[in-house]
């Protein structure tokens, strides 16, 4: 059982807010596209991922439990 970061790339517009919150997980590169560097971050980062979910201007990020 765990959780992972899911980004809806159809919604994502690379505002990079998530990168500002957790640069080890989210990276917007010079091509202006978002790359998820770590789909399964440490549990210690979960609150920050939740913050990235809330603060995504396009509501494109979610946490999936599995």
């Amino acid at each position: 059982m765990g959780w992972r970061v899911v980004v809806d790339m159809d919604l994502c517009e690379s505002n990079a807010v998530c990168m500002g919150i957790l640069p080890d997980v989210f990276e917007v590169r010079d091509d202006d596209l978002l790359y998820v560097l770590e789909e399964r971050p440490a549990d210690a980062d979960r609150a920050k991922v939740a913050e990235a979910v809330a603060r995504c201007p396009k509501q494109a990020i979610r946490i999936a439990e599995d």
Binding site: E13, S14, N15, A16, V17, M19, G20, V28, R29, D30, D32, V53, A54, R55, P57, Q59, R62
Partner: protein, 407 residues
């Protein structure tokens, strides 16, 4: 059992972004007392930024505006009072008065009533004149624009006005933007950026008229024209006023809360014992910018301040006063195929440095420097740079450090 003195009955006044994030944070922090959400609009919280962009254009539907889509709303156990305005506050007896005649008693209060849009005075009875703040505003404008190609005149080249102009232009309407200042957006993003944004609109065929005021609106049942101070008469089928908002705090008159262009908070979002404020309705001294008292109308700010204020409220006297709410403000605006982003605090006296890219290509970054320190940045289609600058501004970086780290 909570320690004595900590709130057990919290009322959140304002059911939009700041209020909703306060609600989320209160429950996430373990508050299990009574929680009431009061909102003047009849809706659960919805997302406003698309109202001038994708929703206005018809590219997304109502469902996509739902801000509670990721929440388990039932689990939040809210007493919802939606469609009911707060009308008065008694700080001494801790009573909140509502427009339906109800009084609510509270021992913790979150003031998050946001802002009200300015409408053009004297045009209330005139069809075809719009302002844009609520879902109903957007629906009305969207329906009107769907009636066929229109001559649209946007009054005020602020971000909302310019977004409406871009959306209307892309939909094939004739669009004119009228702005009294010689350059748009100077106060928020500076001269160079403001000029470039005006050019961006001209690239797309918008008639941008700067440095001219509005004399009057013509029309009997429906608007027919806008008269300008220089004598020009602009025929118009639709007029959109983008002339800003005012904090919705008139209901606090006589309450004893300090109100001056918004509810005055201390540096921890506290407005009075047991009362916090957040979002468009709140002012606070920002420790990151020499305690400049600011009121910030940005989407991201409402989330951050709503959550911070909630934690502050729950802590009561146990809060460490050294823990301040000291954000780097951030906003974005999408116009045509350009993403505009700004971070920090851009002031009129700042030195402006073109940091990367070229305004002529509509892809660039400026940094704004005050006393050697980088206090703000703006980017057009440069999200990676802007967000890294946001972190550096939070660390009070100087220009040399910014150059090194972003090289």
């Amino acid at each position: 059992m909570a320690p004595a003195g900590l709130p057990r009955r919290i009322v959140v006044v304002g059911a939009s972004l700041a209020g909703w994030n306060a609600v989320r944070a209160l429950r996430a922090e373990g508050f299990d007392g009574e929680l009431t959400l009061v909102g003047e609009e009849p809706h659960l919280p919805y997302d406003r930024p698309p109202l001038s962009k994708d929703y206005l254009a018809g590219r997304v539907d109502r469902g996509r505006l739902d801000l509670t889509a990721h929440d388990d709303v039932d689990a939040l156990a809210l007493d919802r009072r939606l469609g009911i305005a707060a009308t008065g506050l008694d700080l001494g007896d801790r009573i909140l008065r509502l427009g339906d005649g109800t009084d609510l008693s509270w021992d913790g209060l979150v003031v998050a009533t946001g802002a009200r849009v300015r409408r053009l005075p004297g045009t209330e009875a005139l069809a075809g004149v719009f302002a844009l703040r609520t879902l109903e505003d957007a629906d009305a404008l969207r329906a009107d624009l769907a009636g066929g190609p229109r001559r649209v005149v946007v009054l005020g080249a602020g971000f909302i006005g310019l977004e409406v102009a871009a959306t209307a232009r892309l939909a094939g309407h004739d669009v004119t933007v009228v702005e009294a200042a010689p350059t748009p957006l100077v106060r928020s993003v500076g001269e160079l950026v403001g000029r470039t944004v005006a050019e961006l609109h001209r690239d797309h065929g918008v008639d941008v008229r700067l440095g001219v005021g509005v004399e009057g609106i013509e029309g009997e049942a429906r608007v027919t024209a806008v008269r300008l101070a220089d004598g020009t008469r602009l025929p118009a089928d639709v007029v959109v006023a983008g002339i800003g908002v005012v904090p919705a705090v008139d209901w606090l008159d006589g309450s004893g809360l300090a109100v001056d262009n918004g509810v005055r908070c201390d540096g921890t979002c506290l407005a009075a014992p047991g009362v916090v404020a957040a979002g468009d309705a709140a002012t606070f001294p920002n420790a990151l910018f020499d305690d400049e008292v600011m009121r910030v109308e940005h989407w991201d700010h409402a989330i951050a301040m709503g959550a911070f204020a909630a934690r502050r409220l729950l802590a009561g006297d146990g809060w460490d006063p050294a823990e301040r709410f000291a954000p780097v403000p951030f906003f974005w605006s999408d116009q045509y195929d350009r993403k505009l982003q700004s971070v920090g605090r851009i002031g009129p006296g700042d030195e402006v440095e073109l940091f990367d890219g070229d305004p002529a290509e509509r892809r660039f970054v400026t940094v704004h420097v005050r006393d050697g320190r980088v206090v703000g940045a703006f980017g057009m289609n440069r999200p990676r740079h802007v967000m890294r600058l946001r972190g550096l501004i939070a660390e009070r970086a100087d220009l040399d450090r910014v150059r090194t780290e972003l090289a």
